[in-house]
Amino acid sequence: MKYKDTNNTDWLNKLRERVDENPSQLSSDSWSKMEQKLSEHGVLGDGSKVIVEGISKKSVQDISKESKNLKEIKHPILLNKHNKTNATIKGDHKYIAIAAICILILGIYLLLKMPNFSDKTLLNNEIENYSNILSPKLKQINTIPQDFSNYINLIISSKKPLNISAIKYSKDNASENISSSNELIINTISSKDLILFCSPLNLKLNDSNEFLDIRIKRLSFNEGNPQGETNKSLYNGNIKFSKETNKSLSNEELKSSKGKNKSLSNKNTIDSKEKNKSFSVKIDDDYIVYLNSKKSKNSQNRRSNWAMSVSGSPIISNSSNMSNVSYDIASDPSFLYSKEFKIVNNKVLRLNSVTKNTYKHKKPLNFGISISKGLTPKYFISSGIFYSFLSSEVRFSNESILTQKLNYITIPLILNYKFIMRSNYTLYVGAGGGIGKCIYGKLGDEKLTNNKLQFSLSAHLGFQLNIFHNFGIYIEPKVAYYFDDHSDITSYWKENKLSFNFQLGFRFRY
């Protein structure tokens, strides 16, 4: 009964009407507060876009009204903020971005200009080295009378005293004329360092089809015993090559007698190096004969200069009679151009020597997980953990090939600057450094250890596709400089200190 009188609600209806009809006056700064709040929460757009399409239906009057309003709409705070970001992009940060791009371009340029350490150039360099060492003699040879249209220079080099008993050569079209071949005896020159046998073989090759047959009767070490009792015949064979050096004989028959007349002919190969007309003849596991042809200055005379060198590589199989010799060579440090050698698979491998081992590096594979932390809206640091796999093919001077595999773990620290930010992608530049450590390495079957840390610097341009708000995929074209870690191991990074690569990855942002 208490609430009986609720029927009379007219005054309440009137009350509602009056209150509803008269909206409260918003305080003057209400919208500016609201605007600030909205921009904080990112609800507002960038504010720079002015709608025209929505108004297009409306009268000109409305548009002019609107343009008046627009002036009001740009709230000072937002306006300032907007100008500020523009200013900063145009200011310092722009230079950072430009600098990073410049580094990137410079890096690529340097990279393209870097000499390419290929197998071929190394071999040529090597022969050049020999030529330099032998330069006085070579010069002498170069002044050979012009009577001879072609001459051949035979250089046999070795650190160990060599004893070549006889070399026969012949010039004929066929093998039947062997009997008329001249015999050339080269005197032994003994020296602790290098023994050179430089003797021009004066030949006339009238026809390009002519063959030259050089017969090397005996090539032996004189192991310090002049009595000749311990002389070991290392090589006994012949090398045949034609003037057309490009078509150098591929399947040269080389007869080798190693004490017990062990035939090694199946092992013999000739590598043709077209460019410098040099080729190496692999006589044995132990010796490589380099044949090098140089065009003399008087090219109209079709004069060419042949250099033949036998370089004794201290690679010795521990089988058969050679073991003694090999031991002597290995134990005599003066034999080696460089004292660094390593015994792998029971073979002495020279690691850093004039006859350098050639590395064929594959491009390193990098992948990893990256995390990033925003410092300011424009800057973020990223780190992570990267795994790099470096694989190289090592060709030792004895032509044996092993695969070197190195596994690196790198932890980078990179400062990035975003210069284009959109909701679904970001463009940024960054620079930083990294510390890498070889965690596992292998050379053939031997384990390689490298305790040195690999430091590096890098600069990159990055593009990140944001899949989720805190997760994205990125691609970074990158220029990296790897510092020499002063270790014995040669890697891709060591030979290509400045390298260019693409990095793909995932990035977590928190």
């Binding site: 009137k14 409260s24 605007e35």
Partner: protein
């Protein structure tokens, strides 16, 4: 001040986050929504804060709004703000006590419609705002949102009887205030 855009166009522009349109929306309905907030919250400061929070939420859920002809935007906005107010009240634990008002309610004064017209709307709003928290909410819901006591009781998780008794009490208090005003006038 207001731009000649209808609600439908305005919402479209708001959805594409045009600042200009958002301002227009705020200016067009902000005052009204502020009234709603004042009615619930009881003081202007809190009401303004709440309005801004609500507006932010509204903008974020603007895509849920479906156009149902003229006035539907205002109704939807009001509903959104009301819900926000009630949520805020719940958060502030301005819980309506479940106790019945057992005291005898004497209907001292029943205002006339003419009286209401004479009183400035701001004063009316002030009177509503001055009502005790619990009474005020039920009064708002019953009178302004035109909810039944059953709906109110469900919404506020109170007894239906509590709702009606509290409303009755609020109405009494308001009537007294109006009477006072009228007496002062004459």
């Amino acid at each position: 001040m207001s731009i000649n855009l209808d609600d439908k166009e305005l919402i479209k522009l708001c959805l594409s986050k045009e600042k200009y349109a958002i301002k227009e929306l705020y200016m067009r309905y902000g005052g009204y929504l502020l009234t709603v907030c004042i009615r619930y919250m009881g003081n202007r400061q809190e009401a303004e804060d709440l309005l801004q929070d609500s507006f932010l939420k509204i903008l974020n859920s603007l895509d849920k709004f479906t156009w149902k002809g003229g006035g539907s935007l205002k109704a939807w906005l009001t509903k959104c703000v009301c819900n926000e107010c009630l949520q805020q009240i719940r958060k502030k634990k301005l819980v309506i006590t479940n106790k019945d008002i057992n005291e005898y309610i004497d209907i001292v004064y029943e205002p006339n419609v003419e009286d209401i017209i004479q009183i400035p709307y701001s004063t009316l709003l002030q009177y509503i705002a001055e009502l005790p928290d619990g009474y005020r909410n039920i009064f708002n819901m019953f009178v302004f949102e035109k909810m039944t006591h059953r709906e109110i009781s469900k919404k506020l998780n109170i007894k239906e009887k509590t709702s009606s008794s509290q409303f009755y009490r609020a109405r009494q208090l308001l009537a007294e205030k109006i009477k006072k005003y009228m007496n002062r006038q004459f």
